[in-house]
Symmetry: C2
């Protein structure tokens, strides 16, 4: 299962809590879509049409520490209640049990303390990788995952082996790397997504729904043309500079790679076509190009990259390197933004999918 990846915990200036606006922006745009989809596609089963109060179990997979996860859960609950009201004659709101999932290294203590006091659901934390099984068979009614599925379970091994043809020397992602590196990353992504979807197909109850929001790149583009990956690779440039100046060992930089892959929508759907019982009910691409000529947007983006990356960078390079690394990173991103080094900036995309668990026949 590889190393545990976790966003920065706590409440400090570099915490994920205070640096997840980009994620929030995406979620806000997806909110209307999510709400409409639930009302359109959620089937209230006959057995619910009774006077007994029912249990409706929701999971947020890759929830991090909030506050975005609480907003998503609220949207799901409100839309579900509306749907129940419409479909059930003697309506009684179900009891909602919400499962917040992330890696075991996630700061669940902070997450739990931040739970909304006025929540109308029972909250539970689930530590573990969503690439494997997390819940009992057919036990979940609705699953959700937002901005988490681009994380791989691990860096593909070939990429870190010095005598492999896919060795990724001098880079931290597949941007600008050989086709062997890109291939290794693509295959890792396919394996991981398969694991994710197979686990969910088991865990979702019959007619259960799953909504996914994840960064993707436009159809017809190469993996290395992803603008998000390009922004991440600037960290690699900063690290290479520091290695040249003798501030960090070259070998340490060579052995570091990001376990991230940004697919196209079709690459995701291709994986799904091999999964029994899951069908695509809705597929949309949400575009919101960040304005990288706006300094505030750029800084928000840099703050976000730090909140997200600090954990794995710290583990590999040690904490003392971080401040200098991010100062250099920040300067480089601002400079690259001004000089249009980044390509296809106009095509930043997010993929929204609504999937349904069909009954086993």
């Amino acid at each position: 299962m590889g190393k545990s990846i976790a966003m920065n915990g706590g409440e400090g200036p570099n915490s994920y809590t205070h640096n997840s606006k980009q994620q929030r922006k995406g979620s806000d745009r997806a909110k209307v879509l999510l709400s409409n989809c639930i009302q359109e596609k959620l089937t209230v089963e006959n057995k619910l049409n009774t006077a007994n109060q029912q249990i409706f179990r929701i999971a947020d997979l890759g929830c991090s520490v909030g506050p975005n996860t609480f907003a998503s859960v609220q949207t799901i609950i409100e839309a579900t209640e509306l749907t129940f009201k419409t479909q059930i004659l003697e309506y009684k709101p179900p009891e909602f049990q919400v499962f917040f999932n992330d890696h075991v290294g996630n700061d669940f203590n902070t997450l739990f303390k931040a739970l909304p006091l006025d929540r109308q659901y029972m909250a539970v934390g689930v530590p573990g990788s969503f690439h494997g099984r997390l819940f009992p068979k057919a036990s979940m009614n609705f699953m959700h995952s937002s901005f988490a599925l681009h994380w791989l379970t691990k860096v593909p091994e070939e990429v870190t082996e010095e005598n492999s043809s896919a060795w990724n020397k001098g880079r931290i992602s597949y941007v600008g790397s050989s086709s062997e590196v890109v291939k290794a990353y693509t295959e890792q992504f396919v394996r991981d997504m398969e694991g994710f979807f197979r686990a969910r197909a088991v865990e979702l109850s019959s007619h259960g729904l799953m909504a996914i929001l994840m960064p993707c790149r436009p159809e017809g583009t190469l993996p290395s043309e992803s603008i998000i990956m390009q922004v991440f690779e600037v960290l690699g440039c900063a690290l290479t500079d520091m290695a040249k100046e003798g501030l960090v060992s070259e070998a340490l930089v060579d052995s570091f790679n990001l376990p991230i892959f940004i697919p196209t929508g079709n690459e995701v759907k291709e994986v799904l076509s091999n999964i029994e019982h899951l069908t695509i009910e809705k597929s949309e691409e949400i575009n919101y190009p960040p304005n990288l000529s706006n300094l505030e947007d750029v800084r928000s983006c840099i703050g976000h990259v730090r909140a997200v990356m600090e954990g794995i960078l710290c583990e590999h390079f040690g904490a003392e390197l971080l401040d200098q690394l991010f100062e250099r990173y920040s300067n480089k991103v601002e400079q690259f933004s001004k000089t249009s080094v980044f390509t296809r900036i106009e095509k930043l995309e997010n993929l929204f999918l609504l999937l349904k668990r069909n009954p086993s026949s």
Copy 2:
């Protein structure tokens, strides 16, 4: 719901993890009892007698950070599997989902990292007070609570009010206090236990079981004759000494009280007699007098008191006081043990109860 109470987290020398041997000792003795009770009383319902794999949901209420909670869960799972094997012809082990519950201030991060890697269950953390609702209606098959129910939701208000007849000046528990103080504590205990049992009666599935292990005092003794409370009250003596020496303000000591009550078995059963749908299937008292003339036992006991009490003491008095306080406490307990200041040391007891959720008629 009052303040959140949590045992010391982490892995340090004063952590609950390394200072819960007394609890473990009690659990070990209760282990055989627990296992036998499950095999004797667990009813495998007809609907389980199918080829489909079933879900069996277990909760440990007041789990703290381990390792005791993992040992208890293991006992419950093994006994449940044995029972299923005996009662079901085409046996297939159920899927176990285990809910680890404690206050929101509990160190869930440490708990999650300590989860046994070879566990045969899916693990979940549930933040919140077990004196209220935590789970959906009729959703739990087995609940367990060990050494947690002597904690009250709060110190009874009268006890902290200067112009109340129950003001508990100069003491931190009801040991040696006026009858008004004892009455206030007793009433708080009854209210809290009622809340606990009523919530469980809703959450347990029909025929679901609950096992409780909690410290109690012998029948016919007064609340203040509890040896556990006497050992805790020595902290009060140490604090009063420090106040006299001007090391801490007297008002601060006066306003501190422990939210703990040690009942007799009959006091617990009296509360239960008012709860619909819960019946007592088994009741036993487990005696294991600690040998307070053995210095190692005394020190283990002192280490445990620190792991348990440090959190609330720190919140009230500040962290800087703690080392000195516990040094004085340690000296006093060792001295009192030698000079037999503690009464009824031979009568330390624990109450074990097995309860069943009977179907609503």
